[in-house]
C-alpha cells in the first residue's frame, strides 16, 4: 500500500499540490495539506476499494479543506498559476503574460465547484471518472460542472481565441 502511495505521489506531486493550492490559496498551507494527507494515508495503511489515484487525491482534498478551515477568513494570497506580471518580467513576451493573467483571473472567478472540476481534470491530470470518484460525485454531475465551467471560460476568454 505504501509503495502505491509513493508511486502516486511521485507521479502526481504537482497535481496534488495544485489541487491543494486551489483550495487553500496559500502555498505553505497547500504543502502542509499534501504532507498531512500522506501521513494520514500511511497511518491508515489500507488499500482503497476504488481507484488508488482518486483515493490519494480525495485525501489531499480533505486535508486541504481542513487547512482552509484553519485559516479562517484569511484571503487567498496566490493562485495556482505561476503568472508573472509583465512589468516584473521585462524579457517575457508581453502577450503571453497578459494571456496567462486573463486565464488565471477567469478561472479564479469560477464558482468553487466548477473550478474544482476544471483543476482536477485540466491541471491535476485526472480522468473524469477519477475526478468524480475523488469528489464523491456522480460522473454526470462532474461532467455538467465541467461543461458549465468551460462555457463561462469560453465567453470570458473569447478575445484570446
Amino acid at each position: 500500500m505504501i509503495a502505491t502511495i509513493e508511486a502516486i505521489y511521485r507521479q502526481h506531486r504537482k497535481g496534488l499540490f495544485t489541487l491543494a493550492l486551489s483550495i487553500t490559496g496559500r502555498s505553505e498551507s497547500a504543502e502542509d495539506a499534501v504532507h498531512e494527507a500522506v501521513v494520514r494515508l500511511c497511518r491508515a495503511n489500507k488499500m482503497p476499494t476504488g481507484d488508488a489515484v482518486a483515493y490519494v487525491f480525495a485525501a489531499v482534498r480533505n486535508a486541504a479543506v481542513d487547512q482552509k478551515r484553519g485559516l479562517g477568513r484569511a484571503r487567498p494570497t496566490v493562485s495556482i498559476f505561476d503568472v508573472a506580471e509583465p512589468s516584473q518580467a521585462p524579457d517575457l513576451n508581453l502577450h503571453d503574460g497578459e494571456r496567462d493573467k486573463m486565464v488565471a483571473d477567469a478561472i479564479a472567478e469560477l464558482p468553487e465547484d466548477q473550478r474544482e472540476a476544471v483543476v482536477m481534470h485540466l491541471y491535476s491530470g485526472l480522468t473524469f471518472q477519477q475526478s468524480a470518484e475523488a469528489l464523491n460525485l456522480p460522473l454526470q454531475t462532474l461532467a455538467s460542472r465541467y461543461r458549465r465551467a468551460l462555457a463561462k471560460l469560453r465567453d470570458q476568454l473569447a478575445s484570446l481565441r
Binding site: 505504501i2 502511495i5 509513493e6 505521489y9 506531486r13 504537482k14 499540490f17 495544485t18 493550492l21 502555498s27 497547500a30 504543502e31 499534501v34 504532507h35 500522506v38 501521513v39 500511511c42 496566490v78 493562485s79 495556482i80 498559476f81 505561476d82 503568472v83 494571456r99 496567462d100 486565464v103 488565471a104 478561472i107 476544471v118 485540466l122 491541471y123 473524469f128 461532467a143 455538467s144 465541467y146 461543461r147 468551460l150 471560460l153 469560453r154 476568454l157 484570446l160 481565441r161
Partner: protein, 157 residues
C-alpha cells in the same frame, strides 16, 4: 463526456498557462514520511519475527538439530552399492516330457428322433508338460486342459 471539438482549443489554451511548482521542502517532508513509515514497518516485521521465533523455540531447536544431523549424515562417505554376482550360465536346450491323461464321460442319450438317438460322449484331457534345463536343472511345468465333445448317432435296432 463533456468533450467537444470546439472545447479542445479552449482546453489547450487553459493548459498552456504555467502552474506554480511545489517547493522542494514539500518533497523532503513527504519523502521523510515514507522513509519513516518504511523503517517503522521494518521494525514491526522484525519484532513479529522475533515473537514468532520465541513462541516456537522448541520446534526451531528441534529443526536445527535435525538439520545438523542431516548435514552430518550427508558429509559421511557414501557406502558403495553391492556388486551383484551373477553365475555364468551356458545356453542349452531344455528337454521336455509330455503326458496326456484322458477321461471319457458318457452323458447318455441327449436327443431322440424317428430314425435313431444321439449319444453324447465327452473326453477330458489334461496335457502336462515338464521342461527341464539339463545344465541348471531348472524345471517348469505346464498344464493344458482340453475337452472334446462327440455326439454319435445310435442306430435303432
Amino acid at each position: 463526456m463533456p468533450m467537444k471539438n470546439d472545447d479542445s482549443s479552449l482546453e489547450s489554451l487553459l493548459r498552456a498557462t504555467p502552474l506554480r511548482e511545489p517547493s522542494e521542502r514539500m518533497d523532503v517532508r513527504v519523502e521523510a514520511v515514507f522513509a519513516n513509515h518504511r523503517a517503522h514497518a521494518a521494525r514491526r516485521s522484525l519484532r513479529l519475527s522475533l515473537d514468532r521465533i520465541s513462541r516456537h523455540r522448541p520446534a526451531i531447536a528441534a529443526g536445527i538439530l535435525i538439520a545438523i544431523g542431516i548435514g552430518f549424515r550427508l558429509s559421511l562417505p557414501k557406502p558403495k552399492p553391492p556388486v551383484a554376482i551373477v553365475p555364468e550360465t551356458v545356453a542349452s536346450h531344455p528337454f521336455q516330457i509330455e503326458q496326456d491323461t484322458s477321461t471319457l464321460y458318457n452323458d447318455g442319450m441327449i436327443a431322440g428322433t424317428d430314425d435313431g438317438a444321439y449319444l453324447q460322449i465327452r473326453r477330458r484331457t489334461v496335457r502336462e508338460i515338464w521342461y527341464e534345463d539339463p545344465s541348471t536343472h531348472a524345471k517348469l511345468q505346464v498344464t493344458i486342459p482340453t475337452e472334446q465333445v462327440v455326439i454319435q448317432k445310435v442306430e435303432a435296432y
